[in-house]
């Protein structure tokens, strides 16, 4: 049975799609500029293999960029958070680079590593790096002192401390950093794909622009939206499980 919450959530989509269809039916605009929903959905049967491949390529690129960029960012952040001299020397330049719009790196990456998947991945990794770096730095600079002291008093070794106290206590901050990394990567990487046209859903948007086909662009956007929703549902689920102790008082959990 469908819950009331789900019905409310679906209502928004239905109203939006209904409004679009009504506009197309009444205004009768040029089909290539404002296609109907059916025309947009017909993009898939025209090239199902190509679209699935493009979606897979984008997903793989986002995952790879997130894992590598996130791990590097978290690692460096934790290191700098623990070592004040290193933090003084490196944090300012890293944070300066974080202010530069990531898409502007695309031409440089092309010059340095050539056209292909590499500059797109590099862009994605950079997007994943900065939020994880900030989170790692924050987590390391603010260790849960009272819990560390309590664990030490109960006889915990350094290894026990890291595994059973420091890691779970800082996990909420680190996960929040990874979530931001994923959001940013999801925003930036398809743009890089669109600029370089090396495959992926971003490239499909670019092709739609080249061919002046709004149905292609809208279908690519729809695919990105669905992919994003699925990814964030997965992330939410993982977060709910790992941080279930934080939501013990929330009846929704």
């Amino acid at each position: 049975m469908i819950s009331r919450k789900t019905i409310y959530r679906l209502t928004g989509f239905v109203v939006l799609l209904g409004a679009w269809e009504t506009y197309v039916a009444l205004a009768n605009p040029v089909p290539t500029l404002a296609p109907s929903i059916i025309e947009v959905l017909q993009v898939f049967p025209a090239d199902p293999k190509g679209i699935l491949l493009a979606a897979g390529q984008t997903l793989l690129a986002i995952s790879t960029a997130l894992v590598i960029g996130g791990a590097l960012g978290t690692g460096l952040g934790l290191l700098l958070g623990r070592r004040s001299s290193l933090d003084l020397a490196l944090a300012a330049p890293v944070l300066f680079f974080a202010t530069i719009p990531i898409v502007t790196w695309v031409p440089l990456f092309v010059l340095w590593v050539g056209v292909g998947q590499a500059p797109i991945l590099a862009c994605g990794m950079l997007s994943s790096f900065f939020p994880s770096f900030q989170a790692g730095r924050g987590a390391a600079a603010n260790p849960p002192r009272e819990f560390i002291e309590a664990a030490r008093n109960l006889g915990a070794s350094e290894r026990d401390l890291v595994r059973a106290v420091i890691f779970p206590a800082t996990l909420p901050v680190l996960l929040s950093g990874w979530r931001s990394s994923l959001q940013l990567t999801f925003l930036v990487l398809p743009v890089a794909e669109m600029l370089l046209r090396q495959g992926g859903i971003g490239a499909m948007v670019g092709r739609g622009m080249d061919l002046a086909r709004a149905d292609l662009i809208l279908f690519a956007q729809l695919t990105l939206g669905v992919l994003g929703a699925l990814i964030f549902l997965l992330v939410d689920g993982a977060e709910r499980y790992w941080l279930r102790w934080m939501h013990a008082d929330d009846p929704g959990y």
């Binding site: 009272e146 002291e149 309590a150 008093n153 109960l154 006889g155 059973a164 996990l171 102790w245 013990a248």
Partner: protein, 234 residues
């Protein structure tokens, strides 16, 4: 009676903060004794407990000598409880049992039973009240196998009724298990009810201003007034 803790000329300061928090403090604890340290808020009671419990990161001079039979660090029951919120009540106890890893230690279930908290074994600490959490914290300290407990104002944030119940519970537990404890408090009444020896501390730097001992099961007449006199004149 065997002396299990001997403190001699203990002084504590926090570099670079000027001044001394504890100055030239000496006393000892006998096995099975129940001692209170009473002092005004901010006089350095918690610092003293942390120095004795071996968790203090400060400049310490003097001697804190535990009997060789006592395994250190001696567990502290904290005012702010400090149960690990990402572990269930049972996991909090099991964690300590694993750390100490002594073959003859009781099970988590036994310890929770001893503090009357078996029913909460699978709950997160955030789902139980402050008084209940403090009972679990006591069980967690008992899981270390220690027969000595350091109690840092463990009932300070409880309401009056829970506070009284917890005091009685602590006393019964100590008597039934032969525990030695050092209770830090700023409440004279609590010290009188739960201990047989009271050390009154001065304001910073903390020094011992007076000592009261229960003889033949009783403290001297007007003990509460005398403690307050000492506290207000220090």
């Amino acid at each position: 009676m065997r002396t299990i803790l001997d403190i001699e000329s203990l002084s504590v300061s926090f570099h670079p903060v000027p001044g001394t928090v504890i100055q030239d403090l000496s006393f000892s604890l006998d096995q099975g004794s129940r001692t209170a340290l009473v002092g005004p808020s901010g006089c350095g009671k918690t610092t003293l407990v942390r120095a004795i419990g071996g968790t203090l990161d400060a400049t310490v001079s003097g001697r804190v000598q535990w009997d060789a039979a006592i395994s250190t660090p001696v567990p502290i029951v904290w005012q702010d409880v400090r149960l690990f919120p990402w572990m269930t009540v049972r996991q909090n106890i099991e964690y300590v049992l694993r750390l100490r890893n002594s073959g003859e230690s009781p099970s988590a279930a036994d310890l929770l039973e001893a503090v009357g908290m078996s029913w909460a074994a699978d709950l997160w600490p955030s789902r139980i009240s402050r008084g209940q959490a403090q009972r679990v914290a006591l069980a967690r300290c008992l899981a270390t196998g220690s027969e000595v407990l350091l109690l840092d104002e463990p009932f300070a944030s409880l309401d009056a009724i829970t506070r009284r119940k917890m005091g009685t519970f602590l006393l019964d537990l100590a008597l039934s298990r032969g525990l030695t404890y050092l209770l830090v408090t700023h409440e004279a009444r609590e010290a009188i009810e739960l201990t047989d020896r009271i050390l009154v501390l001065t304001d910073r730097p903390a020094r011992i201003a007076a000592e009261f001992v229960r003889t033949d099961g009783r403290f001297e007449e007007n003990i509460e007034d005398r403690i307050w006199e000492r506290l207000s004149s220090s």
